[in-house]
Amino acid sequence: MFDPTHAVRFDLPSGSVLAGNEGDRVLLVPTAALDDLVLSAPPEAVESLGRALGSGIGRRAALRMGDAQSASIEQFVTQLAGEAAIAGVGALGIERWGKALVVTVEDSPLVGTLLAPLVASAVEAASGRRAWCTLLSRDERLARILIGSERAVARVREWIASGLAWGEALAKLHGGGA
């Protein structure tokens, strides 16, 4: 169960916003400003920004979980999704496609090129595992992001770029399908 009590503290006399128990200072940034930055910045800068945003979310989620190694799927996803919701990223969830882990984000204000590294970094910070990700699909409501190895992510990107549907790409990643 996620406990959002005092998750964000606004210190009005000092003019700061603090997040989490450790009091990480955060900044309320308009999404439009991020969109302009993503559109003008190089991809590597966008990915670095996304990973920076995600790492804080994952780290705070790991603090909430205590022992993330033994946390169940529901416990892990609950704490991670709670921290992502406080940061205003969107409603986070996961899908299991076979052995593939797919993180879903609903109603996110972030663009895909920024959202994918954010999610990967959050998972990586919360679990302590090195993870790579790629955007499978994105529409106005839902974004799907595959979490996998560097090789697996590269193959799926190639298949999708060649016109293969993301579902068939996941099936093909398991050694079957087209």
Partner: protein, 249 residues
């Protein structure tokens, strides 16, 4: 007369014929000789002059005078000398001879050809003669049965009298449920139209439909389901187990 005398006489006759045949002769002389000499010599001379007629002449004489009772051939050939025109046309002797033996029919095909009926062979069951025309028609279309004499005139055209009121025992005959027969009028339409209208007007009796049930015979089996992939069997206990599996792809 003994045989020796007969033989001697015949040899003398033969010698005399050979002698006369070797010498020159004329037709007139031959005819005179034939008239004055013995009959047997005439026959021989005639055979020498008319190269074709002698055989026919001899046969006719035999037919005309059958059973004459004469014993020797010399007496039979005492015929009149043949006239000169006989030798001019080879066809006339046939006609004359035929007229003497049997008169010709006036005209048309020979009566023998008309009335000749070939007898049926012994081994054949059916007669050779063709069946008469009536017999063939009877075989092909069957014999017409004689119609019985008609004692009543044929019915007249027009209205038909209505049937009298039925007086049935309703409980016995079952006529109670039958519809009343309406007599047909002259103004009524054709029978086909009437039948069609009756089919439309009369209420159709409800038919009781009985379903014919056909049930499949399926045997229970525990080998119906076949799992192709075991992806959904993967139930990682922790999130890190799931993450590790995804990273291992």
């Amino acid at each position: 007369m003994s045989k020796a005398q007969v033989i001697a006489r015949l040899e003398a006759l033969l010698e005399r014929v050979k002698t006369r045949a070797a010498g020159p002769r004329a037709p007139a002389a031959v005819a005179a000789v034939a008239a004055s000499r013995a009959p047997e010599i005439v026959a021989a001379v005639a055979a020498a002059e008319l190269q074709q007629e002698p055989v026919i002449a001899v046969s006719i004489v035999e037919e005309v005078v059958p059973g004459d009772g004469l014993e020797s051939r010399e007496r039979l050939v005492a015929a009149e000398p043949l006239p000169e025109p006989v030798a001019e046309s080879p066809q006339e002797p046939d006609i004359d001879l035929t007229s003497e033996a049997e008169p010709l029919p006036p005209s048309g095909p020979p009566r023998a050809m008309e009335e000749a009926v070939e007898p049926a062979p012994i081994s054949s069951r059916r007669p050779v003669a063709p069946e008469p025309q009536e017999r063939l028609a009877e075989i092909a279309f069957g014999a017409e049965e004689p119609q019985p004499p008609r004692h009543t005139p044929p019915p007249e055209s027009g209205r038909l009298p209505s049937a009298p009121e039925a007086d049935y025992d309703l409980d016995v005959t079952g006529v109670r449920e039958a519809a009343a027969v309406v007599p047909r009028l002259a103004e009524e339409p054709d029978a086909t139209e009437v039948s069609a209208r009756v089919r439309v007007d009369q209420p159709v009796a409800p038919r009781e439909l009985v379903p014919q049930v056909t049930r499949p015979q399926l045997a229970s089996s525990d080998a119906v389901a076949d799992v192709i992939v075991d992806a959904q069997r993967f139930t990682p206990p922790t999130f890190l187990a799931l993450l590790d599996a995804s990273l291992a792809l």
